[in-house]
């Protein structure tokens, strides 16, 4: 009995391992950032329709995606941050697919409509504890963020230079949860992917620049991060994977990328 279970488990594990590597059929596998789910799935669907090839996406997180490329368990890795120098030194190559803006959101009753990057940084570090100090009504600022391993949090904290220093009142595990929490609390401030902002909250402008496609693309909106395709330097992709790569980085994909709420760069 035990042997049988062991066998079944081993078989299942072996299958799941090979599932990501399937390059011999006409397929392309991607692995990585959950923030890129919407855009990469839209691209994948369009690609499948055009070519009939198989497209898979594993939503695991930037770190895991980068590792998967390095280990060769997928064709293209997805990262929502620039590669570190150490990762580039390991022979990985980054190609920027699009730019995602991170919107700073507050409750709709909040009169504060503009903050500088320094103010945002100080607010999240707990150095500015009250809205009255930044021109709002009297009320203790409630910072709402994402869990430690979130790509959005990583992006936000590296841009605002608040790594390991944020004093959060809530650490939620999705953009939607942050939206709900901020919409429920008049003293809350939070951050979410620009593409997921709804009108239940106000997205404030940063140093006078409102978040929008134009301001993100020209770089004037400060709170932004790249969506990166990660490949191995000097190692040729499979024919299908190369076709997908070319398609995703071609101007033809811009409409799809834009529809997914992020800003295309190519």
């Amino acid at each position: 009995m035990k042997k049988l279970i062991c066998m079944i488990l081993t078989l299942a594990m072996a299958l799941s391992l090979t599932a990501c590597g399937g390059t011999e059929t006409a397929s392309v596998s991607t692995d990585g950032s959950t923030s890129m789910q919407k855009v990469i799935n839209a691209l994948g669907e369009a690609f499948m329709e055009d070519t009939g090839a198989n497209f898979t996406y594993n939503a695991t997180g930037s770190g895991t995606g980068i590792k998967a490329v390095k280990d060769g368990t997928c064709d293209i890795g997805l990262s929502s941050r620039y590669l570190k120098d150490s990762e580039k030194a390991e022979g990985l190559k980054e190609t920027i697919l699009a730019i995602d803006g991170i919107a700073i959101i507050v409750h709709t009753d909040n009169s504060v409509a503009d903050l500088t990057l320094q103010q945002i940084s100080a607010i999240f570090k707990g150095e500015i504890p009250n809205w009255s100090e930044v021109g709002g009504k009297d009320g203790e600022i409630v910072c709402i963020g994402r869990e430690e391993s979130s790509g959005t949090r990583d992006g936000f904290e590296s841009i605002t230079d608040t790594e390991d220093a944020c004093v959060y009142r809530q650490e939620l595990t999705s953009n939607g949860a942050v939206l709900t929490a901020v919409a429920e609390n008049p003293n809350a401030i939070g951050y979410v992917s620009l593409s997921s902002v709804k009108d239940t909250v106000n997205a404030i402008s940063v140093s006078g620049v409102a978040p929008s496609e134009a301001t993100i693309k020209d770089g004037s909106y400060a709170v932004q991060r790249p969506f990166v395709l990660v490949t191995k330097e000097g190692v040729a992709l499979s024919e299908t994977a190369q076709a997908f790569f070319d398609f995703a980085t071609s101007p033809a994909a811009n409409e799809i990328i834009r529809a997914a709420g992020v800003v295309p760069v190519n």
Binding site: I5, G139, S149, R169, Q170, E171, T173
Partner: protein, 287 residues
């Protein structure tokens, strides 16, 4: 005759296999948790892991102390019992002894329905109603707190407490109660002096089930407790053992990921310990 025996043997074998599957699952999970949970504990150090007060695995100088989670889980569970057990217990006594059959039927159905609501719905309602409510009532900057988690858990454990207690109370032999009434005790005295003590072990089982549900719940807690790794305070944002695992698992890697397995191992041992202790006391009382 012979074919009958063969048939019996076959059925016996099938049931044995089904039973063994359950045992194998338990063994598999236990072994897997121990194997994957031990390395991180060894690397971090058992004392630093269990009694460290700071959890910051993503920092440049990561720290893996889970005391805040352990205490939050204990406080949250105890708090939910303090709120949930009296309510559930008295509801059960009322429904079993006092309520008219019609009321009992309707309320019973409502309680069953409560048991069938998915935990994410509890969490959502808690997030939209309870958290803002706590903020308003106690004049806090934010309502996501240990208290919110306690209240949600209290409501979630109500069905198991009520249902199991009712079954136990209904099973008390009518002669006991008749004898008590015949001796001149009022109905209320009879319920609390005769029926409840007679149903004691069943009610205790109900509480154990409640503890199990409360300490193991992740989704609803995650949505209302704020999920920050603070040392537990009633009106502060806290993170439970369960939510620590589930909120990190999506992205974590390396030692961080291994540490999450270690947390799961601690949670597992915790639940085993609680069950064993309670079982010991319950069995002890029966003798």
């Amino acid at each position: 005759m012979k074919s009958n025996k063969v048939f019996e043997r076959a059925v016996h074998g099938i049931f044995l296999i089904l039973g063994l599957v359950t045992v194998a699952c338990v063994l598999l999970i236990t072994v897997y948790l121990v194997i994957s949970g031990i390395p991180a504990i060894l690397e971090i150090g058992l004392l630093d892991f269990l009694f460290g007060m700071i959890w910051d695995p993503a920092a440049s100088n990561p720290q893996y102390g889970i005391l805040p989670f352990i205490l939050s889980s204990i406080y949250g569970t105890v708090g939910s019992l303090v709120i949930g057990v009296p309510v559930g217990f008295f509801t059960a006594v009322y429904l079993s002894k006092k309520a008219s059959p019609k009321v009992k039927e309707w309320m019973g159905a409502a309680v069953s329905l409560l048991a069938g609501i998915p935990s994410v719905v509890y969490g959502l309602v808690g997030m939209m109603v309870l958290v803002p409510g706590i903020r308003e009532v106690f004049h806090l900057p934010d309502g996501a707190s240990l208290l919110a988690a306690m209240i949600v858990l209290a409501i979630m454990i109500l069905p198991s407490i009520i249902k199991v207690s009712i079954t136990a109370l209904d099973a008390v032999p009518k002669e006991y109660e008749d004898a008590s009434l015949a001796l001149g005790a009022t109905p209320e005295e009879t319920w609390f002096r005769v029926s409840v003590p007679a149903a004691k072990s069943g009610i205790a089982t109900a509480v154990v089930l409640g503890v199990g549900r409360a300490i193991g719940e992740a989704m609803a807690v995650m949505m209302v407790s704020g999920n920050v790794a603070n040392m537990p305070k009633l009106f502060e944002s806290v993170r439970f053992l369960t939510t620590a695992v589930s909120s990190g698992m999506g992205y974590a890697d390396g030692l961080y990921r291994e540490a999450l397995f270690s947390i799961a191992l601690v949670l597992f041992l915790f639940i085993m310990l609680i069950n064993a202790t309670l079982n010991f006391f319950l069995k002890g009382e029966k003798k």
